[in-house]
Symmetry: C2
Subunit: 360 residues, 2 copies
């Protein structure tokens, strides 16, 4: 099923989203197929490099393709201008030209960072995303959004730069820390809420298997989410409209991550609590059916994901949200859920929103 997924872009361009692995040599074969020429610069964090990045780079070299590995320190803090600069310089420590390819291996951070390096190296080289985390497979690796954080907020700098292929290295999930694996399920739940009743029902049915980390349930869940993402990105490649729905839960989630200093809460945990905020705000506005709160709360709780935000001050909520890219004038564009399969962008006056935050 997954081998058939493609992101179709305007103008007839398209790229595959493929199940890859299980061995590094298998992944290398797929990378060679989606990027048939050029040197390869494999970018991975300090956790993923010894497990998968180095093996992939060596498998590429063994297959006759010039390949190098660049490693950055694991953690969201590496999505920084400083680390980008060190990767730019690292790329030029060996021979490199415009025909070369950046291969990002890892989770969301590796994809965003390596993708931004690819977008900007020599004004843009090809990018291949190899996802090894649930977050990356179900969401982050697909869609061409790349970027870094600034001290003032997440993803404030970046570029749209579509990969030439996205590989989902599902067997790598076996070595993913349990907390991160669960965090990725938050993105899967988000995709199901956007997609509709049958997707949410399927997750409810496999809820226990997912919580236990059963490989088949995980593969089916990330495949569902990847399919939702591919379809939406294909209709809206640069986030001018519908694609913004994929940020459901993320506006609140970013505030949670920001206030907790990026790291105490994983991205997925922040998104889980963020979705619950968005649902509850929607109920308060008379827009979201109240029963939805309970259903999604149970789904997230079964995955041991948080369903309430940490205790934040009003300014901790507001500062990152009003600085968010989704702000426009004196409104915040919240994504709210009218029913499963029907989320909407709702421009919300900041005052009204602040008043509700005061009730949290």
């Amino acid at each position: 099923m997954l081998g058939e997924l493609r992101v179709e872009l305007a103008g007839g361009a398209a790229y595959p989203v493929s199940l890859v692995g299980p061995g590094a040599a298998d992944v290398a074969g797929w990378v060679r197929a989606v990027a048939p020429a050029g040197r390869l610069i494999v970018v991975a964090d300090s956790n993923v490099a010894p497990l998968y990045g180095r093996a992939l780079s060596e498998a590429l070299t063994a297959a006759g393709r010039e390949s190098r590995l660049l490693v950055f320190e694991a953690g969201e803090a590496s999505k920084s201008a400083r680390v980008v600069a060190s990767l730019w310089e690292g790329a030029f420590e060996g021979p490199v030209d415009r025909g070369d390819v950046v291969v990002g291996v890892g989770g969301g951070v590796a994809g965003d960072l390596a993708g931004f390096v690819a977008a900007t190296l020599m004004r843009g080289v090809r990018f291949v995303a190899v996802a090894t985390s649930t977050v990356a497979m179900s969401d982050a690796a697909i869609g061409g959004k790349t970027g870094i954080n600034l001290p003032r907020g997440k993803n404030l700098v970046g570029a749209f730069h579509h990969p030439v292929g996205v590989g989902l290295w599902v067997s790598a999930l076996t070595t993913l820390p349990e907390r991160e694996r669960r965090g990725g399920i938050a993105e899967v739940v988000k995709s199901a809420v956007i997609a509709g009743e049958s997707e949410v029902a399927a997750l409810e049915a496999s809820s226990a298997a997912l919580a236990a980390g059963e490989p088949e349930a995980l593969a089916a869940a990330v495949a569902m989410a990847a399919g939702v993402k591919c379809a939406i990105v294909g209709r809206d490649p640069t986030e001018k409209g519908e694609r913004a729905l994929l940020n459901f839960g993320h506006t609140f989630g970013h505030a949670i991550e920001h206030a907790s200093g990026y790291g105490e809460w994983t991205h997925g945990e922040a998104v889980a609590a963020g979705m619950m905020c968005a649902l509850r705000y929607g109920v308060a506005q008379g827009l979201t059916p109240p029963d939805l709160v309970g259903r999604i709360e149970r789904l997230l709780a079964t995955q041991k994901l948080p369903t309430v935000p940490p205790s934040l001050s009003l300014s901790e909520w507001i500062e990152p949200i009003t600085r968010d890219k989704k702000r426009s004038g004196s409104n915040v564009k919240l994504i709210l859920c009218r029913r499963l399969g029907r989320c909407e962008i709702v421009p919300t006056p900041i005052d009204e929103f602040v008043a509700w935050l005061g009730t949290l």
Copy 2:
């Protein structure tokens, strides 16, 4: 004449290249027309800010448009990852959203830097280029190439990001240091060589007036060069083919700038000497007519531009050239001149090229 120039991009998009000024209020009126909504972030260096950047920002504010000024230290050394990071952070020191606009005011450095900030801020906001130097008016501001330098070479990082308008603030040339004004004429000469016999003859005819900095001669010269650039960029917006011809003289020029540490030689001076290298190499290859060397040499010498490169070691020449983006495999892509109006990309084996450098 100039008011009519436009860069026509694929897909029907286009942007104007306009003569603007003489007063800051006039320029502000033009900026408001090409970017009719959004807050404005004016970016200028420490020389241009007090002369033009602050006045433009204040004129925009006076006209009812929210505007802020960000200043960076003048000099090519500011085209760095460090300064880009400080501008990214500076942009978020006030309210900012995706509907806002970055306005770069100044020479080539301001345009490249502000353009790259615009390309990457919130994954891309609108950019307006206001050129105040001969280099920027005749070449750098037009065409959407943005970027910064790395310790290993020039423009190794960047993005293609077309402005919504390019303003040529010709009256600002009166305060440009004479050496920089002359340096820009090197780009004008380059454009004439690419364009053809009549453009070179026109420069030869106005050579003395140009050297004396006569405003009408300068305006006509930058208008000619801007026209050449608009036409080529319109046919090749992302430098996949013909546009590379605009790098005539630049491969050698970058090596000169790199070896002299960016600053001892101005960009224009390095390009002047670089063009002479490219012409002489073309003659040595039996490709360039020998009389062209004398004609262009006289034209440059009249503008007090250097016509021979500094004494560089082989490794000083080779290292930046082989690291250049124009390298592909074991060839260097040199741009050589078969006759006026007919420059060509000539893939040159590195060995052959090195042997010739040894004769310099």
